[in-house]
């Protein structure tokens, strides 16, 4: 029995004969703790008290965060140093000098069929480690906030069960060491998002919004799945990096400083130094055993005349379609604003901070593959910019406080893809991180406002709240400054640098130069719009006179401490997280990915060394950009303050000029989806049914009935007629098959 168990879970029970530390074994705790919380809340919700279920969920998230922090630090500093006490002093040192040592825990083979294998394995490198920290950290704060926000809800335990399940799935997505595991998490977060959007399921509209989110995501998933299959066809594996060598042999957790043989997709990609026009590969380390053999059965069978580059490009394009669905990019964005039907902390966690950035994470995870196809990268940048400007324009006229934030999220996600498309993957992730802080803050603040306003979400009925809710006001102001890109807030660092890279690209990229210039311009306009609608929100909500009715007015109160503590914490991060910029920007390969500087083939400037010409150029570009972005941000903020604070303008929600009508109606794209696309889908199914009925019922039965009447005989019974025609169908089918086989 024990032997069989050991066979099933080699990572668990094997007695490792080599050195490893206890926190590496703990890697699996990061996703498992929330799972445990989910199980407790799901199956014991009748027996434990409300307080206990909230505490269990929050504790599970907090412990996951703690473990993640330990593991991250264990990777960051030398593994031989086993005492926790030494960590604190060494973190700073690491950030500057020490290379990050990825941790790869292997828990067994999941599936090994037909020459294809997928593992249970968790992989923490800088990228997934950082994402894990953000997910668990922001997650913990939002759990804490939820204990206050959802305090009056009937299905308290169910809510926390879903929230913990979401964390589990998200962490699986982030930490999984292969694409299949990521996909499982990917689908899992989709399912949880669906459950949480439709959480108040007595409301038909909200249930429908959940359904919409799920179905839109499935369109993306189609792309994702096809992308996985393409990658399997090309590489024959879905592992990101090779599973630990010893894990295959002795099946134990171990550390992998450098993969010994390129077996994972990224190992392959990293080893490919050059691709000639015929698609032949030159590998970095010339070794017959390491050669990527595309002449093997699989790749050749699927892409008989394709080059490696083309196949990878196709895979990346398909994967990006998946990312478009999950990260709400045009044209698959429409589900995200509707998803605001869910509880506000859910919007903060899932639809702002974590899940929707999964697409960006996936692109960054596979950046080595995306780098092979500049055209796909360009496409990514285009889609990102289009989404950024489109959503920003819509955001200008929305009156529902959560809808404004939702469109703002869509727009910011567009910036992230713009960064990824420009090749600055680490910047995309940087923006993911800063955005997670300030957008979660804004959503939680909005939740606090909604909570105080007795569930009112319409900003036209708010106003003057800064006196009643001072903490919420100050924290939200900080979040708004960050979102608007006010200098030296977190959002400024990330957004400004993204735009700087795009501007630099326009000088630097010979083939797409003018395109990049256009994207830069659009990005600037979007930045201006962002600043405007952000402070429109602040102005309409917190300034002016209160426009609520008397009953609501009497109830307005500041939220309890469990809700304001997360706000304050997040506000601190929204102010300060930008200073991580240094680490993101100037480390040679931060997050194991190219930094913006890599786009220009330069080494980071070192202190005390004369800057090169390229560095000077970059510096110049950066300064020019700084002027433009500051102008956009400050201009937008100033204009909004003039209109909504000084003049106290309140939109009526109807009429207005052509632009406001278009913007308010989301450029009629969502109406198009609702009316045309979803109906077309149903229509197609109807059509098939009609064809079936027409063919069998109408044409044959009725036709025969008419013919029968014509000959004057009695009507036949419908049933026997059907059987006859079924049999006729069988006979015809049989003849077709007979001849197909005979003539082949």
């Amino acid at each position: 029995m024990l032997d069989q168990l050991r066979d099933l879970f080699p990572g668990w029970l094997a007695r490792p004969d080599h050195y490893h530390t206890w926190y590496e074994q703990m890697l699996c705790l990061i996703p498992l703790l929330p799972l445990l919380g989910f199980l407790i809340n799901a199956f014991a919700r009748k027996t434990i008290s409300r307080g206990a279920s909230g505490a269990v969920a929050t504790l599970a998230a907090a412990m996951a965060f703690g473990v993640a922090l330990l593991c991250y630090m264990a990777c960051a500093i030398d593994s031989q140093v086993a005492t926790v006490g030494k960590y604190a002093g060494m973190v700073q040192e690491h950030l500057q000098s020490r290379p990050f040592q990825p941790m790869h825990a292997f828990y067994g083979t999941w599936l090994d069929v037909g020459g294809f294998r997928a593992n249970f394995g968790l992989y923490m490198d800088e990228l997934s480690g950082l994402m894990t920290l953000v997910v668990t950290g922001v997650g913990t704060l939002i759990h804490l906030y939820s204990t206050g926000y959802m305090g009056h809800d009937k299905s308290y335990a169910r809510y926390f069960a879903y929230l913990n399940l979401f964390l589990f799935a998200m962490l699986l997505l982030v930490l999984g060491d292969n694409l299949i595991l990521t996909f499982v998490g990917w689908e899992g977060v989709g399912l949880c998002s669906y459950l949480l959007i439709g959480f108040w399921y007595t409301d038909g509209d909200k249930a429908a919004a959940g359904m919409k989110a799920f179905l839109f995501n499935r369109v993306g998933d189609l792309g994702f799945l096809l992308g996985i299959f393409t990658l399997i066809a090309v590489f024959g594996t879905v592992d990101y990096v090779a599973p630990p060598e010893a894990a295959q042999a002795s099946s134990a957790v171990m550390r992998v400083p450098a993969p010994p043989a390129p077996k994972g997709m990224l190992d392959y990609a990293a080893n490919i130094k050059r691709i000639d026009p015929n698609g032949n590969l030159t590998l970095g380390q010339v070794d017959a055993s390491q050669k990527l053999d595309l002449s093997g059965t699989v790749g050749k069978a699927v892409f008989p005349s394709w080059s490696f580059k083309l196949a990878i490009g196709l895979a990346c394009l398909l994967l990006f379609v998946g990312a478009m669905g999950k990260s709400a990019q045009l044209p698959l964005y429409a589900w995200l604003p509707d998803a605001m039907a869910g509880p506000t902390p859910v919007s903060a966690l899932i639809h702002a901070a974590t899940m929707v950035t999964a697409g960006v994470y996936m692109v960054a995870r596979l950046h080595a593959l995306f780098l092979f196809s500049p055209h796909v990268m360009m496409f990514v940048a285009f889609v990102g910019t289009a989404t950024a400007i489109f959503a920003a324009l819509i955001g200008l006229t929305q009156t529902d406080i959560k809808k404004v934030l939702a469109y703002s999220t869509v727009s910011q996600l567009g910036y992230m893809f713009l960064a990824a498309g420009a090749g600055a993957f680490s910047l995309a992730i940087f923006h993911v991180v800063t955005h997670a802080f300030f957008k979660a803050l804004l959503f939680l603040g909005a939740g606090s406002v909604i909570h105080g306003m007795s569930d009112e979400q319409d900003m036209r009925k708010m106003g003057g709240l800064r006196k009643h809710m001072p903490v919420t006001f100050v924290t939200m102001l900080i979040g708004s400054l960050a979102l608007a890109g006010f200098p030296f807030t977190a959002g400024w660092f990330s957004k400004d640098t993204i735009l700087a890279v795009v501007l630099a690209k326009s000088h630097d990229d010979p083939s797409f130069g003018s395109w990049w210039m256009a994207l830069y311009g659009l990005g600037l306009i979007a930045a201006f719009c962002t600043a405007f609608y952000t402070f429109r929100l602040v102005g309409m909500t917190f300034f002016g006179a209160c426009r609520a009715d008397e009953k609501t007015k009497a109830h307005i109160h500041e939220s309890p401490a469990v809700m304001t503590i997360p706000l304050i914490t997040l506000a601190a991060f929204a102010l300060l997280a930008g200073w991580m910029w240094h680490a993101f920007f100037s480390a040679p390969h931060f997050l194991g990915m190219p930094t913006p500087l890599d786009n220009f083939n330069m080494n980071p400037p070192e202190i005390g060394v004369e800057a090169t010409e390229a560095q000077e150029h970059w510096h110049h570009v950066h300064l020019v950009n700084l002027g433009w972005t500051s102008l956009a941000a400050l201009g937008g903020i100033a204009l909004a303050l003039v209109v909504y604070v000084a003049k106290g303008f309140v939109p009526k929600g109807e009429g207005g000029n052509v632009f406001t009508t278009l913007s308010r109606n989301k450029f009629y794209l969502e109406a198009f989806y609702d009316k045309i696309v979803s109906n077309a889908f149903i229509l197609f199914a109807e059509l098939m049914h009609v064809a079936d009925v027409l063919l069998i019922d109408t044409l044959l039965v009725r036709g025969v009935a008419v013919a029968t009447r014509w000959t004057g005989a009695a009507l036949r019974s419908l049933q026997s007629g059907l059987v006859n025609f079924y049999a006729g169908g069988v006979l015809v089918g049989a003849l077709v098959i007979l001849y197909l086989l005979l003539l082949s």
Partner: protein
């Protein structure tokens, strides 16, 4: 045309005509009797194929057993006298049915036409032996005969190898090279008790299923 051929065509016409009557007759009793004639005719065809045992089984089981049962059922049921079982089909359906049926018929005829002779399992072995003799003759000719040329010998060897392989395959798939075709009944018995014992036994399970099924269908419904 030989008398046997005349008889054969007579039987064929009887079968086709009676089968058509079964389908077209509006009186179910007539249809049942036509079916009787049809079955008997088929037994005649079996006789022409020298399958006298199968012909006897056909008569005993189908004519003697099943048809009698059908007739009983028809006569016991109440609506026999009205006769009309089913109104005529529409022309469209009739036309389509005839077309597809004709196509199917033509396909079958075309397929079977090329079947040169019923498989003679002795063929390969016999041919292989003949080829062996031929090869021996080519290699060591009897007195007064020319030895074969090298090409002839090679071709003969290749043929022989092919034939040997064929008989090996035949053994693999269970075509007995020494199947005594003449002793059909004995052979049949041997097959049923030998190679096909499993299907033979399973046939009893089939009958059991039918029997139990009959009970399920006819038993009176009782409230538990």
């Amino acid at each position: 045309m030989s008398p046997a051929m005349l008889l054969f065509w007579f039987v064929v016409i009887v079968i086709v005509a009676s089968a058509a009557l079964v389908v077209l007759s509006r009186n179910i009793l007539h249809a049942a009797f036509s079916l009787c004639l049809c079955f008997t005719g088929v037994a005649g065809i079996y006789l022409f194929l020298h399958a006298d045992f199968v012909a006897a089984v056909q008569l005993i089981v189908y004519v003697g057993g099943i048809l009698v049962l059908v007739l009983f059922a028809v006569m016991f049921s109440t609506h026999t006298q009205e006769g009309s079982v089913e109104p005529r089909r529409g022309r469209l359906a009739l036309g389509a049915g005839l077309l597809v049926g004709a196509l199917a018929f033509v396909s079958v005829v075309l397929l079977v036409k090329n079947l040169r002779a019923p498989i003679n399992a002795n063929d390969t072995v016999a041919q292989a032996r003949a080829e062996e003799r031929n090869l021996a003759r080519l290699e060591k000719p009897a007195q007064g005969e020319e030895p074969g040329s090298d090409e002839e010998i090679a071709a003969s060897k290749a043929r022989l190898e092919g034939l040997q392989k064929q008989s090996e395959y035949r053994r693999t798939v269970g075509v007995d090279p020494e199947n005594p075709i003449a002793e059909r009944r004995v052979g049949l018995g041997h097959l049923f008790m030998g190679r096909y014992i499993l299907p033979f036994e399973v046939a009893s399970v089939l009958i059991l299923a039918a029997l139990v099924g009959a009970v399920v269908i006819v038993r009176k419904e009782t409230r538990a």
